[in-house]
């Protein structure tokens, strides 16, 4: 068996060496882009109205990562995103996204390189990027169908799990879309934290299947696993967690468009189930480290219908539940107060063009026992290079 692996490995080493030789001798490759690099800017702003103060938002029984607030009361500038990307040379593609929150310091959201020349379905990526786990995780906020992410993502993945590391993806040479991937990450962001194991303590694996059914239907389904290690992970400013979170995600997306022509009418169904098993020591604000072991889970399902060009409506339901970690955690963040958080949302948006959108959304949010009625009005516009979006 080892001999086969070695023969495959040596083949790739050979390919890589040949590639470098080719690069040295070949003239510069033609880029398909009219602009090199392509630069785009996402502008977005919101008006929010909440029946409960959003600054004291929490989800009963769940420690939350950074930027987990549901929004800001009144007018506020959302996140402005500057993206620059291009083929670096015939072997590499590079992408960079700077996220600038309206009221905070800018941060590097994505900065990665990705191989383009290995072939045989293999793609390598390195740098900082959103993990390929789940369906929603990899998608940038401006491509979401709602203003906010699903509750299970907010509660279990700190909205979106992105970190520094490497990723390998392999696509099978079959008509059915079969993609497998694995990642090895630093472990600095929620649900990981502190760069455990000298900055290499977190890993993930995922498999995606997909295809078409006739000319009007297409789908993608996935299974993902994330093992995240945390050392003194801060949540809610006063709590700390040291231990492991093992997260399992199942996702399904089904899209419909008459004859595959999405321009006039189309429908998208999307559902995901997330389960997180946490084991370690939890230190609630002001108390001492206490052994903690609990499993949390959640799911959401949503449907988005474009009923005529430029107009879409959507509904979504989110639900969460968690084990009771014991009386020792009463009156701490982990105290679920006998409540299973849930939320229902409706949304309508209008696209003036492919590049500009205005959205109205209502959430009946029961993240905590008392209902919070949340209203949002949002614009999201992109200028610069024409975007290409993931399925």
């Amino acid at each position: 068996m080892n001999r086969f692996l070695i023969s495959i490995c040596s083949r790739y080493v050979q390919v890589v060496i040949t590639m470098f030789a080719v690069v040295c001798s070949a003239s510069a490759a033609q880029s398909g882009n009219a602009f090199n690099p392509s630069i785009s800017l996402i502008l977005n702003g919101t008006y929010g109205a909440f029946s409960k103060d959003p600054s004291v938002y929490g989800i009963s029984g769940f420690p939350l990562g950074e930027e987990s607030e549901p929004g800001v009361e009144g007018f506020s500038l959302g996140e402005t995103e500057l993206s620059i990307s291009a083929n670096i040379d015939p072997n590499w593609y590079g992408a960079f996204t700077l996220a600038m929150p309206g009221d905070g310091s800018p941060g590097v959201e994505n900065a990665y390189i990705q191989s383009t020349s290995i072939g045989d379905g293999l793609t390598l990526r390195g740098g900082r990027f959103f993990s390929g786990i789940g369906y929603l995780n990899e998608r940038h906020a401006h491509t979401w169908d709602f203003i906010d992410t699903a509750l299970p993502y907010r509660a279990l993945l700190g909205t979106q799990y992105g970190d520094d590391g490497i990723q390998i993806r392999w696509l099978a040479p079959t008509d059915l879309f079969v993609e497998a991937g694995a990642e090895w990450m630093r472990g600095d962001s929620f649900p990981a934290g502190g760069g455990a194991n000298s900055g290499r303590g977190t890993w993930s694996g995922f498999i995606h299947l997909g295809g078409d059914v006739g000319s009007s239907h297409s789908w993608r389904a996935g299974l993902s696993y994330l093992s995240a290690k945390a050392i003194n992970r801060e949540s809610g400013a006063t709590d700390f967690f040291t231990g492991t979170s093992k997260i399992l995600i199942a996702d399904l997306v089904w899209k419909w468009a008459p004859n595959g022509n999405t321009y006039r009418r189309n429908f998208k169904f999307q559902a995901e189930y997330l389960q997180s098993s946490n084991k370690g020591d939890f230190t609630p604000g002001g108390a001492s480290a206490t052994p903690y072991s609990a499993t949390s889970s959640g799911w959401y399902a949503q449907g988005v219908y474009q009923f005529m060009p430029r107009w879409r409506v959507a509904i979504r339901h989110d639900q969460l539940k968690t084990d009771d970690p014991g009386v020792v955690f009463n009156n701490t963040t982990l105290d679920k107060q006998g409540h299973n958080p849930k939320r229902d949302s409706v949304m309508i948006d209008h696209n003036f063009s492919e590049f500009s959108r205005v959205r109205l959304q209502y959430n009946r949010d029961q993240s905590q026992p008392k209902v919070d009625n949340q209203w949002f009005l949002q614009y999201t516009m992109s200028l610069g290079a024409h975007g290409a979006h993931l399925f």
Partner: protein, 301 residues
């Protein structure tokens, strides 16, 4: 178990190293390029069509099925000039296929081999969804197809050198039939010269120039912006003073605004295939133009 794993690894190694089919696997972004590849590659090519005549090539989703197909392609044939900018980059980045990346022989963009109309010196989206490099809808002029055919033959010969003689023979045969057909279409379409038409999108600039047809109005106020009520009534009053002889629409485009205008002006709507497969008659490249000219002549009466 060990034996089973060994077999799996062997199978993966074989799949990775040997393409399943000896043919050139062609991934055609639009049906016209798939049809051209069949004409020029004959039995040496297997063609997969990424889109149909009933889909708007500007708005295709980067579906998993397309990524899976591009994974095994030896040759990617697209229009280029940013027509596929909303979906092709995703396919290229996710397919893990080095043969079809930009700069490789397997990455063939048809618009690179012809001179484009409507090139812009300044691009500003206040003009709508315009393409900086020019109007990409070159398949509406058969003389452009002839130029692309020549370039595509060279590409096929480069990718599959062992059959280059056969590609050359197929090209010469195709070009002979094609040039004869162009003469026939030009003769048939002579009565269309100077005819005034209303179009839906700026899809036909090359055909209009070829046949001398005059576009007096476009239902899209700006490219890519769906026809609005205000703009439609403006066209309506314009047509009352300056009538047109037909309203032209591609098979994939929405028929409602055309019917609205047609009912009020009594100007007939003519549906054109736009690409191979758009009408029953347009079953191949020759049928595409046969059908287009037949429908236009019918609309003129």
């Amino acid at each position: 178990m060990k034996e089973f794993m060994k077999n799996i690894v062997m199978l993966l190694a074989i799949m990775a190293m040997h393409p399943v089919s000896a043919n050139v696997n062609v991934f055609a972004c639009e049906p016209e390029w798939g049809a051209l590849a069949k004409e020029l590659g004959g039995s040496r090519v297997s063609v997969y069509l990424a889109t149909t005549a009933f889909q708007d090539p500007h708005h295709i989703q980067a579906r998993p099925s397309l990524i899976a197909k591009l994974r095994r392609a030896d040759l990617l044939i697209c229009t280029g000039a940013e027509l596929e900018i909303g979906w092709l980059p995703i396919l290229l980045r996710q397919a893990g296929n080095n043969r079809v990346q930009p700069g490789q022989p397997g990455n063939f963009m048809a618009t690179k081999h012809v001179t484009l109309l409507d090139k812009l010196t300044s691009v500003d989206r206040s003009q709508g969804d315009v393409h900086a490099s020019g109007n990409p809808h070159i398949q509406t002029d058969p003389r452009k197809i002839a130029k692309v055919a020549k370039a595509l033959t060279a590409t096929l010969a480069k990718i599959d050198t062992t059959h280059s003689v056969e590609y050359d023979r197929l090209y010469r045969d195709f070009d002979k039939r094609w040039q004869a057909a162009i003469s026939r279409w030009e003769k048939d379409a002579a009565p269309l010269k100077g005819v005034k038409v209303v179009v839906h999108h700026k899809s036909w600039v090359y055909m209009m120039k070829w046949l001398g047809i005059k576009v007096v109005a476009s239902l899209e106020a700006k490219p890519g912006v769906p026809p609005g009520a205000g703009h439609l009534s403006q066209i309506l009053s314009q047509l009352r003073t300056e009538p047109a002889q037909m309203i032209i629409r591609a098979a994939y485009q929405e028929g409602r605004p055309d019917r609205w205008l047609s009912e009020r002006t009594k100007i007939p709507v003519v549906v054109l295939p736009f690409t191979v497969g758009g009408t029953d008659q347009a079953s191949d490249l020759f049928g595409l133009y046969d059908s287009t000219i037949t429908n236009l002549l019918k609309g003129r009466q």
